[in-house]
Structure formats: C-alpha cells, structure tokens
Symmetry: C2
Subunit: 352 residues, 2 copies
C-alpha cells in the first residue's frame, strides 16, 4: 500500500494528537508539523524527533530566536506531502485554504471551520465514500461527531424519528484552564438551537435534531442528554443493539462505579492510553431507558480526542488509498486500540 | 386577621429562611425555632433574638453546655403554636410527624419527605385550595416547585402536551461546600426518569413529564433545560404570555448581560435581597424559542430560597386564615418583594 505523506499545521490540542496518530499508522508518514509557537508546546515536538516548520516567516524568526530548530517554511513542508491536516485556530484555517490549493496539497480541516469552507463535512461511519478523492473535507467538531455517531447509528437502524438534546460542555481544555475558564457557575448558550444540531445535518441531512447547550465548571469531556422520539415502540435491547452495530461507540456503566465524568477520565488513564484519551463515545449502558416509543440516554464525549480517528480516516479518504470506509475505520481503530468495552466481563455485557 | 403562631423545627438552609419570612409576615408570629446544633448556626438565631428550643433532650444538654440559651423542649414550643414547619433533615421529619400529631399542631413538611408522609403535596399556585384546613402538607422540593410553576403555567394556558427536561443541579449548598462537594466533573443521575418529574405529578397529576438530572461543579442554583411539545403550533409571545399570567416567574435576559448562573446570583445580592435570595423561577426570556408546536427554554432555580414563599402560603392554607390562594400568594409576594422584572426597562419588556 502506498504511504500517505502527511503534514499537520497547528500543533495544539488536536494537532499534537493527530500527529501521534499519523505516526502510529502503518500507511502514513508524518513529514512534519508547522506552528507559530516558540515555547514548550512546539519544543515537545522537537523532543519527539518531529521535524518542525514555521507556519509564517515572522514565526520562523521568533522560533529560531527561541531555540526551536526550524526545518523550513510551511511551503517547504507542503512541497513534501500529499495531505495536510489543518488544526490551526478558528478563522486562520480558512485563509490557509488558498495556500494549500496553490501547493496542490489535499487538506483536512477541523470543526471550527464552517461547512462552506470545504463544501464537505466528514464523519467516517456516515459518509467516508463521499469524501473519496476530494481535495478538502472538514472533520466536524467533537460534539457533532458524537451526535452523528450515536444518532446516525439509530437512524441506520430505522429507529430514530426525532432527537432533542442538552449538551453540558466542558468550560475549556485542561492545558488552557489557567486562562478563560469558568468557576462555580453554568453558562447557558444564548440561542436555541445551539449550533451542534444544525452542524450534524451537514453530515446527516435528514436528521430531525435540536440541541441546547451550556458550559459547566469542569475541564474534561462533554456530557450529552438525549430525548429520542423513536419511529415505533422499541426496547432497551433493540436500541443498544443499534448502537453496538456502529463503530466507535463504547459502553460504560454506573454499576461498574463509572458514575461521573471524572471516573471515566481516570479509567482512560489507567488503561494506559496516550494522554488518557478516549476516542469512543461512551454511552452509559445502564442509564439508557426506553419507554414505549421514546428513548432517553446520556453519553460522554472526550472532546480533545474523539475527532482524531475521524481525521485519520479523512486523510485516507482524500488520498483515495482505501476506498472502503469500514476498512479504513477498522485499520484506524486497531492501531489506536479502540474498544467497545473497557473492562473484562462488564456487567452489561454479561446481561446482554 | 388572626395571627398564626408558627414554630420552625430545623434551623438549616431552609429553616432559617422560613423563620425570617415568617417574622416578616404581618399575619404570623415566629414563636421559636428548634434545633440540635450547638455551633454558629443556631447561635445566629440567638443573636437575632429568636427563642431557641432543643429538638431532643440530649441536644438540650449539649446546647446549654455550649452556651446556647435554651427556652425549652420541642414539646414546649409545640404547646405554644398553631403550625410547625419541619425543616429537619430527610428521614428525621417522618418520625416527627407523630410528635406533631400528639401535640395537635398542624405541620408543613419539605420536599425531602415522601408524598406518602402527608398525603398532600403543595405548590401554592397549583393547589392551595386542597390544602385548606388540612393537618399536614408537604412543600415539594426546589426543582419540583420550579417545574410545577413553569409547566403548570403552560398547562393552565392549554398549551402543554408533553415536557422532557434536563436538570443541571448545583453540587451542594454554599454553606456545606467544604464537605461533600464535587470539583471539575459532572455526575449524571443513575436512573431515568430522575425523581423530579414523577414528583411534579404529586401536585399536577396530568403532567406528561420526564426528567434527566446531573450534578455539576457549582454551588448555587439549578439550571433546567426543557423541550416542550405544545398542544398546537404557538408563538414566543403566546408562551411568554402564559408564563406572565402565573405568579413567581421572573424574567432575565442574556441581552442584559445576565449570561450565566453567577450573574443572576450577583444581581440578587445587588438588589439587597436577604442572603441574595431569589424566590422567583428566572426564565431566560430571550433564549426561549418556539418552533411550530415545540418550545425550548431554560431557567434558573435558586434552590435555597424558592420554596420559602410556598412554605409561607402552606402555613396559611393549613391554618385556614386565608381561603383564597391568590390572596395568600399576593400577601407573601408583596412582603418578600417578589418581582416579574429585576431591572428597570428591561430589553424584553420593551420589546413585548
């Protein structure tokens, strides 16, 4: 299989995780990363033996002055790759699009950008095929990715008529919680619907979904609560089977002592995962309730990590090296160590 | 008008507020409070000139030893009153019921007790009349009170078919947040429905309501998110008019900079309210959205205070001194200073 040469532009929360994932994939080579940082963040990449490029000429001067060995410019990096993953901050990425086009490099953007920037939004299990061979796509945000995975699974099973959700978001990421965080409050989003519902329709156009959102005073992972109108009376087992039929949905249980967001976060650390990441959407199996033709459920979204496998698949889809989405998903998930269950003999699995 | 002689048993988060409210009512007299505490909590009452009684003989000994002047036993206090408000911790109150019965004193319990303890659950605007002259009633919990106020208003207007809610609860109260709090996480309630939905039906039996709940890492006020199926297509103004027709619902607005729970808490402090309390349910007027036959809204519940006016009305209902609920509500609300709007010329009121 041809090796896909990849660049990552923006070595932040998502970029550094994508860089690691790309390095782990047997069919990919991380040629280098570009950034403008001069501090510990980019010097960590240097320490890992990753070639570092300056995203702008000014940044290059500052980086060299700060002791960061700079291998060249963004353009130099682009000359050497097939696909660039743009994980720069919101608004920067849209400007970068022209640079990538001029260099003839395919580009994967992230959910901070608008759908219009690429004209294609991506969640591997939903629409890998339509991204095949395209020049650009946008991996939707962490919240939207989780919505498409879970609601998409129920839609695929013919079970979902309508979804109404409340998203309790983390206030900010751990590495940024010394600035711009919130304490001892909840901040409701000022408008309904919040953007995640409409955003999910960029991938699943037929979804009848409305979301309300709020930020709470914690730093790791989002927590969604859904009221689902089903197409007909159903059962817990049927709904769970529909979720089990889809990739990248894991199950956790109150009965296992996984009773709050922090317990799952701690479990991921204990499982030895890089940075304690959880790439799965973690559905509380024993909280999920079906009453007649309604289902109620809650799940946890590891916002720093969930889009990483999607980004890996998006690289393959643009490169066109793997034409079948399920094959790409399986390759990615095996390398990362994605799981359906996190514990041996889980209570729920034994019951099932 | 006859003065109702009132005792408060349990000088905690609710009890101390009820004691103050009773002292402020022209038709009530606070004869005394009973407790078992020996520290600053009960000594504050002493400093306010409130007569303090020992809830148990052992407590009396300890209180006297701790320098708390004790006026007598709970039985002594009960001898002198018409109505006792039981604000003791969960499970203690149910045992107290027999004591109150033996003393021939009417009793108002709080939402920590089960409906079965009294056979009657109370929210003034919904069912004042059915409590008239009864020996006991139970003022439902803060969350349930807010649900009955808001959903009851829409039901009264013939607008509500079905309500599905998510409750983001405060982790613990400010005065107890040095113990039993949570930090940097969200704790989902393990079962669906959470108890508040069914509890609301103890007051409004016809309500079609399901609630999911979670505790977040903050100490003041709950935040509810509702998806409401209306009986027919409606409009924002019609839904707001239905809320305006009910008592004890206030309006706040993102446009006024009231953008998070803490901002409303600060506003209540700035308004000079005792302890910064908010007795109203505060609906975000400019977030409320109506789409066809669905309404979406969020409101804030000041859990330490919202049941205080209900408790005052419950005292009157049991005493039977005021037979009309609306009259009692108006009396209570005028004395407390309850408001529909918290700011002069609010943006939304001008728009309306």
């Amino acid at each position: 299989m041809m090796t896909i040469k990849v660049a990552v532009n923006g070595y932040g929360v998502i970029g550094k995780r994508v860089a690691d994932a790309v390095r782990a994939m047997p069919d990919m080579e991380l040629v280098g990363v570009a950034d403008v940082a001069t501090d510990w963040r980019i010097r960590t990449a240097v320490g890992l033996g990753i070639e570092v490029f300056a995203a702008t000429p000014d940044a290059g001067t500052a980086m060299r002055a700060g002791g960061v060995p700079v291998a060249g410019t963004l353009e130099d990096l682009l000359d050497r790759v097939d696909v660039v993953v743009d994980t720069t901050p919101k608004k920067v990425a849209a400007r970068n699009l022209e640079v990538y086009k001029a260099a003839g490099v395919k580009a994967v953007f992230q959910g901070g950008e608008s759908h219009a920037t690429t004209g294609h939004s991506f969640v591997a299990q939903a629409n890998y095929a339509t991204a095949l061979g395209r020049d650009t796509t946008r991996v939707v945000s962490c919240n939207t990715t989780s919505i498409v995975r879970v609601l998409g699974a129920l839609q695929d099973a013919g079970l979902l008529a309508r979804a109404r959700g409340v998203l309790i978001r983390r206030a900010t990421d751990p590495g940024e919680s010394h600035q711009g965080g919130i304490m001892n409050t909840v901040v409701p989003e000022a408008s309904i619907p919040s953007h995640q519902g409409p955003d999910a329709r960029t991938v699943l156009p037929d979804l009848d979904v409305v979301t309300m959102a709020a930020k709470a005073a914690h730093t790791q992972t989002h927590n969604h609560y859904w009221t689902l109108q089903l197409t007909r009376p159903s059962s817990r087992e049927e709904v769970l089977d529909a979720l089990r039929a889809a990739p990248r949905i894991g199950f956790i249980r109150m009965a296992d002592g996984l009773t709050a967001l922090n317990t799952t976060v701690e479990l991921m650390r204990d499982l030895g995962r890089p940075r304690g990441d959880m790439w799965e959407v973690a559905v509380w199996e024993d909280v999920l309730t079906v009453e007649g033709d309604e289902a109620f459920l809650t799940y946890q979204v590891y916002n720093e990590a969930i889009v990483v496998p999607e980004t890996v698949d998006a690289i393959r889809a643009l490169a066109g090296t793997v034409t079948d989405g399920a094959t790409s998903i399986a390759m990615t998930d095996e390398v990362l160590g994605m799981r359906r269950e996190f514990l041996p003999d889980p209570v729920g699995a034994l019951r099932a």
